[in-house]
Symmetry: C2
Subunit: 232 residues, 2 copies
């Protein structure tokens, strides 16, 4: 697919990309609330109505940016893992991935807010975001799987009803992981983004100063909570 179609089609993907780029620029500068279709069009030298040939509404443009943002964090996480895949211990890999996600968030706070802050559009995230949204989670799962194939400290056993959830999730994502580990992983996943969100959204202002060290410490504790053993 994407064979050499007519020049018209190529122009279309270029304009589409230009719109997204300019929108991302404005997003990074002023935040999602102030992203204006008219301003994007103005900056691109076209009239606002022309932009509707490419994105049927402002929310659709935002959705496109959301998908791109999910892919960007996901890629950051996957790259961090790839760089450490063979050498380091599972715990070191876990911490490296956590660090990478945090670094991306702090470097792109508005894009981060778009995906992990309050949902901006009419409350329902489109289905197209589901796959890119799970990339970071899958990276974390893969680290835990590698670790638990060897030895690993089992997390505390959850009650039976929760284990049902854990089994279903394990069936979907990691058939060889014990359900209790999957449950702990999901919790760690949410907690990781709690740490990052508080830092990115300014909740640590005048509270935590040594943020790198603080985050490293917390990421280590998260690794422990999913049963990864610490290097001596």
């Amino acid at each position: 697919m994407s064979t050499v179609q007519g020049a018209r089609a190529r122009a279309r993907v270029e304009v589409t990309a230009a719109i997204k780029d300019e929108a991302r620029r404005q997003l990074a500068a002023d935040g999602a609330a102030k992203l204006s279709l008219r301003a994007v069009a103005r900056e691109l030298g076209m009239v606002s109505s022309a932009l509707y040939r490419y994105f049927p509404s402002r929310d659709e443009l935002l959705t496109a940016l959301i998908v791109d943002a999910y892919d960007a964090v996901g890629e950051a996480a996957e790259d961090a893992l790839a760089k450490q895949r063979t050498a380091a211990s599972p715990t070191a890999r876990w911490i490296a991935v956590c660090r990478a996600v945090r670094a991306w968030a702090l470097a792109h706070p508005h894009e981060y807010a778009l995906i992990y802050g309050s949902p901006v559009p009419g409350y329902t995230a489109p289905e197209t975001t589901n796959v890119p949204a799970s990339r970071v989670g899958l990276v974390l799962i893969s680290i835990a799987r590698d670790a638990h194939l060897g030895k690993g400290v089992a997390p505390p056993k959850p009650p039976a009803r929760l284990l049902v959830d854990g089994e279903r999730m394990a069936a979907d994502f990691a058939p060889d992981l014990p359900p209790a580990v999957v449950v702990a992983l999901v919790a760690a996943w949410a907690q990781l983004f709690g740490l990052i969100s508080f830092e990115a959204f300014g909740q640590f202002h005048r509270v935590v100063e040594e943020r790198d060290a603080f985050f490293a410490q917390a990421a280590e504790q998260l690794a422990r909570s999913v049963g990864l053993v610490l290097p001596a």
Copy 2:
């Protein structure tokens, strides 16, 4: 203070309250992005320019709602603690407070998003929000203090630079707590809101179904991470 001033002054506080109430209604209905000064004024039977006698801008109105929301969660947490103060173990109190905060968030998702989601206004939260914003944190600290005055499992020792942060925070909020515990508390605080935010913002959609049990399990793990011992 607040002595019986003229009837005009009383009308002012009443109108101010009515504006905030209507704004809160619209916030709960459609979210912060769609909160409109003109719509609030319209609903109250006044003209939009009159509203500016009470709030100098839309952001100031939002700030007032933010302060109220912080106070509401804070009160929910304090009430939950008060109900269990004498009877239950520190761990049970911790979980009760966590549950109360979560319940408030799920009951008022838009107000929750206002304070723990992406920062809406021009990036700087006013200083007036600082005190109400710390109420939940103070409740968590007080539970840990009660527990650690007796016995408690010390969290892993952070590196020296981080301990400096911990000592400063301890000096501010809990002089009798070991710095390492304070550091762990702040991490648990952020992680708690990570769990709640993911649930409130729909990130657990089609992932976690047994959310009550899941949250209880995670809250228990958080208690453990700050050194609270579990009841046998």
